[in-house]
Amino acid sequence: MAEGKQMLTRRAFLGAGARGACVLGLGGAAAALLARQASKGDAVWQIDPDKCTACGNCANYCVLRPSAAKCVHAFPMCGYCERCFGYFDPQATDFHSGAENQLCPSGAIQRAFVEEPYYQYTIDERLCIACGKCVKGCRTFGNGSLILQIRHDRCVNCNECSIAAACPADAVRRVPAAQPHILPANCPKEPPDKKGKPS
């Protein structure tokens, strides 16, 4: 091997071959994945309210404290009851907004008078811990307009959503980022908002 330094050694040749195979494999896999999914865009996690059983795991399993899931009021479905079953404790005897009458442990639902006998219910998301108590109450006795949703302004979009892993109903799934919310199937459509984004 006098001219070994000039020639390609066997080891260098095999190394280059293996390297080339790695590059080809990597490039091939990447191209296949990209070609198939180029048009689909990103994905985010969301709770399907029709599958959700309001078990309360959302409050405890999210990597964030408090959880990135929040109670959301789907206003096309309701939001006007005098005695909201998501707001009042079933054992409440007095229907005013005293803490002892409220179902929400953190007082996150705000009740505002609209006109006799209607009240508006809005969620203060800073206070909501996603325990799902109101969701259960509303669904059992009311219209089911209170739903749990993952809020994308809080969610860090983990690669494996801890809520999804802990969900007993398999209700959390990846949805396209272009349609990041899931309203109940029987929820009437809302007109698009001013920014033109569909809800």
């Binding site: 190394g15 999914q37 309001a54 096309p76 009311g142 809020r151 494996e160």
Partner: protein, 432 residues
Amino acid sequence: MTFLRRAIAVPLLACALAGAAPAEERFPPPQFETAYQRPRTTAPWPRADWREYVDLAMLVSTLTLASYLALRARRRGGMFALMLFCLAYFGFYRQGCVCPIGAIQNVSRGIADGGFVVPVTVVAFFCLPLAFTLLFGRTFCAGVCPLGAIQDLVILKPLKVPAWVEHSLGLLAWVYLGGAVLLAAAGSAFIICRYDPFVGLFRLSAEWTMLVMGGSLLLVGAFVPRPYCRFLCPYGALLRVTSLLSRRHATVTPDECIRCRLCEDSCPFGAILKPTEPLAPHAGLQGKRLLAGLILLLPVLAAGGAWLGGLASGAMSRADYTVLLADRVRLDQAGLVQGDDQYINAFRVMKLTPGELYDLSRGVQDRFRRWGRVFGGFLGVVIGLKLLRLSVRRTRQDYAPNRSTCLSCGRCFAYCPIERKRRGTPCGRTNA
């Protein structure tokens, strides 16, 4: 007021039994007399796509810089600064997501399931560090990976790990990789993310199990440097192979090695190989016999692995939701579930009979059994190849980094007198 009376008339018991019955419109919207408009449902939007391309640009530039620092500039100081920056950016600012380690799972799931979305950035996060490693060695581990960086910071007193421990524990990473690919491809779980030890620190919020795991790894890491990288990281397992094939690689010395032994103990990861001792007589023949035996052992290991994989697949399939639910329902049918069980409650609203669920679960378990055997066989081959690689003797005259385990962190550079001469600091100052 009629809806109020109707509400009271609702048989409470029936509703309570129905539990989480699907929502229905019990109280249709009234005609408001005032001009009241119901508010819009609040709908915050996810972070804009373009910011992911910022992450991507950041990854490319940090990888380039890390490779430059390891191979061209040969600066540990610069590498350390880059590592801190990446810890701050990819770790604390981007909160550890998405990382190349986790991207393994998205890519496997994407390949196994055509409907699964793998964003361009995730594909790039998976491919780019591998591509850079094929060219320049594991510069990603040294300068860019936030999980590596946080372990690098806590190295206090590096202990020498015996070679057999190092090699055996290194196999764990392959087990982790195989298991993660299997579970991700089956669509059951992303275990790399679930058991990521440091992401809780990056988010400054985690379950206590996660914090205990991360904390104990850091504690071990004070004495056994970078334990996650060396013994567990599934992406590290891939990088070890690609780094072995890398086109160029960082070297201890910038020029010719003078075998001064000064660098011998400089590597906290034990990744510097010493020059080989001269061969004992007859050792060559013995070595060849050993090699032949190991090659013959390879199919045996693969078959044994496949058999064990088949056995373990039952336990692994429990990570799948359908299998888990079916097991719960089976227990419930046998009257063994007491009290209120979340899974049973969820199953009751699913409009699925136990028989149908069992069939679904059996399908998943069959798939797991098939792929569990492949997984076991793969591990057998990995162990066989590891033994082969340990038995192949390479003659070495110089001190050189072990290409597969060297992270190109650059700690050894300043120990080399040739390097000192190159920098014009022959003695005294050792750093940077």
